[in-house]
Symmetry: C2
Subunit: 307 residues, 2 copies
């Protein structure tokens, strides 16, 4: 959409006497909403944003509805794969997490790790440059130690020079199609280390899994919708509903209103203190931040300990 | 393993006075067990097989434990993806099902379809030669009709001449590594039809999903273990436990014992009357056979009907 389009949208809203406009979505949606808000300034049109993205890349709000459920999905599948890999410790499994520019979902899988040797063993985020040498030596070391290794990698990994580690397979118009990072990494492990490797790429299966809805997430999604609706009905305009965290234990939040301009231009990536110093895992600070949002993965009864 | 190895295994069992040997697994496992059974003939060694494979390719038994839970997984994820695709009907999603030589798991996803227009829209099995032209015309037609299309494809699709549709990406020793059928089909849709397409490949995530365990599957797995254990303890040897279906409604089975020779050499593929005439879906006969094994996917509340 171009500037003309936003002005036309404002005119159409006015013509049809549409006075309340609520958009739910992520960064792109909030950007569009902000542009309509500007184009409609001076008119009696009240716009409000409801944050919702599994990528969790919306600025200012502590987190966005949608993320916690997909985070729960990631923790749950890696918890299950931990048993699969311990039961048949012959290969390296590379699981691809959604999030082209942010590692929030890959990071969430760290909740599955309960004790030394548990999956996930290695995490890779687009927030850190990807080093093939470091990746291969990490995998080699862990394979020798545990036999089965689970790697979780974000779909948008880049080298230090900023180029994606998997080249676009196809460009149609403005759309760019990348190959799978997980398949690429599994091939690297096979070819360079000669170790059996496979890739799993749940993709939209994670983002729509009805069995992994986080109860906290569901409640907060409703709260965000209600907050934004109340704002526009009381003639507050150009605001996105947001979450402000008050306390971690017991978990407490309050709903806030965030000027849409503060949201429009910024993409919230994983902050430095949530990524470990080697760039292949998360910190306790991240887990403390995440735990209240997600139910713990179930305990499995395992008689397959290797250590 | 070679013939020598089986004879050495039989000698080792005898030397250590191991008299009972139970193997649980699929075709390969039963083949190995049968060879040990032959090598140990004449000795007081009692061998028994416990069927267990998500691929459901073991002969004679009505079905094998492990299959129903992964079938439940396939039906559940496609039921969820149906909502995702209806909510954002812009692309074709190709979901890869495990099963290199059989389409049992791809077929199971058909349980997700509740009404006209629901996913899965197209299914492809290794039991039928894959035609690129027919696939593309099927996808084009359904895309024009529904906007969002869900295809479920078995990982081992082959052309009419028997060659796999995705060439091996790597061969290390005796191991052959194939590329992903789902990624290949998504690329075909993008390149030949210019329609947005993506691929999802849950892989081992489906085979180990603790949230999708079918209660019937769990009970039958225990029954198969008990049946095989009782057989060897009563000095019946060279038999695999199996399931004989007595009735569909209400569902009733009985445990049987099947001579291991009948299992060793045969791979059970989808029978003709379970595949539709176009080769891109299943028949009511298959769904009638499958329904008692799997809990129905949940109903979603949808206000996203397109028709």
């Amino acid at each position: 959409l171009e500037q003309d389009d936003y002005e036309r949208i404002a005119k159409i809203l006015k013509k049809h006497e549409i006075r309340y406009l609520l958009f739910t979505g992520g960064n792109g949606t909030m950007d569009a909403l902000g542009k309509i808000y500007k184009a409609a300034s001076g008119e009696e049109i009240y716009v409000g944003g409801i944050p919702k993205t599994i990528d969790n890349d919306i600025a200012v709000t502590d987190h966005a509805p949608g993320y916690a459920s997909n985070a729960q999905y990631m923790a749950s599948i890696v918890n299950d794969c931990n048993q699969d890999i311990k039961g048949l410790p012959i290969h390296v499994s590379i699981i691809e997490a959604m999030g082209r520019n942010t590692g929030w979902l890959a990071a969430a899988s760290a909740l599955a790790k309960k004790e030394e040797g548990d999956a996930p063993h290695l995490l890779y985020f687009p927030e850190r440059p990807f080093s093939e040498e470091k990746f291969l030596s990490d995998v080699q070391r862990l394979y020798e130690r545990y036999g089965g290794v689970v790697v979780v990698a974000s779909e948008g990994l880049k080298y230090a020079d900023g180029t994606p580690i998997v080249k676009p397979s196809l460009t149609i118009g403005r759309a760019v199609y990348f190959g799978d990072v997980s398949a690429h990494l599994a091939n690297l492990v096979l070819q360079k280390l000669g170790i059996k490797a496979r890739s799993e790429k749940p993709g939209i299966i994670g983002r729509c899994s009805s069995l992994h809805v986080s109860p906290v997430d569901r409640e907060e999604a409703i709260l965000m919708g209600r907050t934004a609706a109340r704002a526009v009905l009381s003639k507050k305009t150009g605001m996105m509903a947001g979450i402000k965290r008050i306390a971690n234990d017991p978990y407490a939040i309050e709903a806030t209103l965030i000027p849409i301009e503060e949201v429009m231009l910024t993409e919230k990536t994983l902050p430095d203190h949530f990524i470990n110093s080697e760039g292949n895992g998360v910190t306790e600070a991240f887990l403390d931040w995440l735990r209240p949002l997600v139910s713990s993965p179930p305990e499995h009864i395992s008689f397959l300990r290797r250590s």
